[in-house]
Symmetry: none
Subunit: 130 residues, 4 copies
DNA sequence: GTGGTCTAGACCACC
DNA sequence: GTGGTCTAGACCACG
């Protein structure tokens, strides 16, 4: 469950935490029934205010990803994995779609776009390997 | 210069206007030396607060896309087309890259991503034809 | 939209605000499309921290009762009235049910319970008239 | 002395145990002078932390419902039955009253409320028979 | 002016 | 120790 947050990202910190936890559940880095780091622990790890983490965890509860065990902590909900996987793909798809639409509006052809995507993919995976 | 803005888009309204104007210049829907709609006119057209349009136009002047003609209004700057075209491509590329990075973080393979891109491209162009 | 909150109620303050707003929408004290008091205004009115009101309003947004108009305020969502009415009745029913179950567990007969309910109803309405 | 506790009830677990023991005494499921299950036994039965049961028993001693017999365990206090009966009725009445007040605030008429009560009573007793 | 976010520090109930 | 709630005060983007 290790990840980084970027406070100057535009996306709210608590929202970044929400997404990253969902990503982690989706790729089974944490499994249903397991406990996740406590509010205070994750806050320390990310160098963020505990309230911000608490807010993210609250959001994750209303999203059905976490459930609280009184006095003990928060665990990953049973049916969370599939939901997170679906949700993650949907989020990616939606943002991808928006970018592509804007690309089209600015007169880029489908072929130019595919080439762009390929270039970027190669750059990213190359960086990932390094 | 007709376009729509989506107030519930997450992206600020004035920012959407800025981008759309740049898109319009990039694809030569408006050409250097031409006048663009007045603040009030565009505000009425987009059903948006005139202050918001004014702010977008101010930003566009700072960006060198528009220049003011005393007592007359705002015209598209001479060298704007190339700059907009470059800027637009760069914007698209940057956002595309960010989406692809997140996609990769969430365990989507390069192939899955290419398929996703193709699907979305086909959907968009199909919609565009309708 | 005037109501009181009781900080020593056991129920969280933000939750009381959420319920009272839903009550207000349900009984059409505020109607879909209307604006509700600003965060700061209601906070002043209830002698409560603005963050607490903000949290209640956020909850009401995720519940689909309010929707935010950027830079302007929060308005009652279109379909909110029916949802609130249903939800309110359900809340009452659930709590009533729980009390009745406990009553039954403690050997109170259905007739004793009905008498109790009648007595309390009369007391309450009498107080309401005074 | 068999009963169930619901950890996601909102009501604290130890408080639920306290109430249920009082209910049991009130309806004479356990009688003054009888021993009640040990902390460990009840904890196992309810799948609850022994500390939680211990805390409930402590509360019940403070409330005069249980009294300790040195080296043996806890027994139901002599005068407990009447006290529990009275206390239980009062608790029920208080909570009933609160629900009815909220119901009234949300514009439910006395008749609608009586109908609701009747419906719920029938549902509960029907379930109890099954 | 509006809502949205974040930080800091406090208190509570529960296990 | 845990999460949950509340307060106080700050900064930001938006209209």
């Amino acid at each position: 469950m290790f990840f980084a947050i970027d406070p100057a990202n535009g996306v709210a910190v608590y929202e970044q935490i929400v997404r990253q936890v969902k990503f982690a559940v989706a790729r089974e880095a944490v499994k249903p029934g397991e406990m996740i780091p406590s509010v205070r622990e994750l806050a320390r790890e990310l160098a963020v205010n505990p309230n911000t983490v608490a807010r993210a965890y609250r959001q994750l509860q209303t999203d059905g990803v976490l459930s609280s065990v009184r006095g003990t902590g928060l665990e990953v909900a049973e049916a969370a994995r599939d939901r997170c996987r679906r949700e993650t793909v949907e989020l990616i798809r939606a943002r991808l779609r928006q970018v592509l639409i804007e690309a089209q509006q600015s007169q880029l052809s489908a072929d130019e776009l595919r080439r762009l995507v390929d270039t970027e993919l190669r750059t990213i995976t190359a960086e990932g390997d390094s």
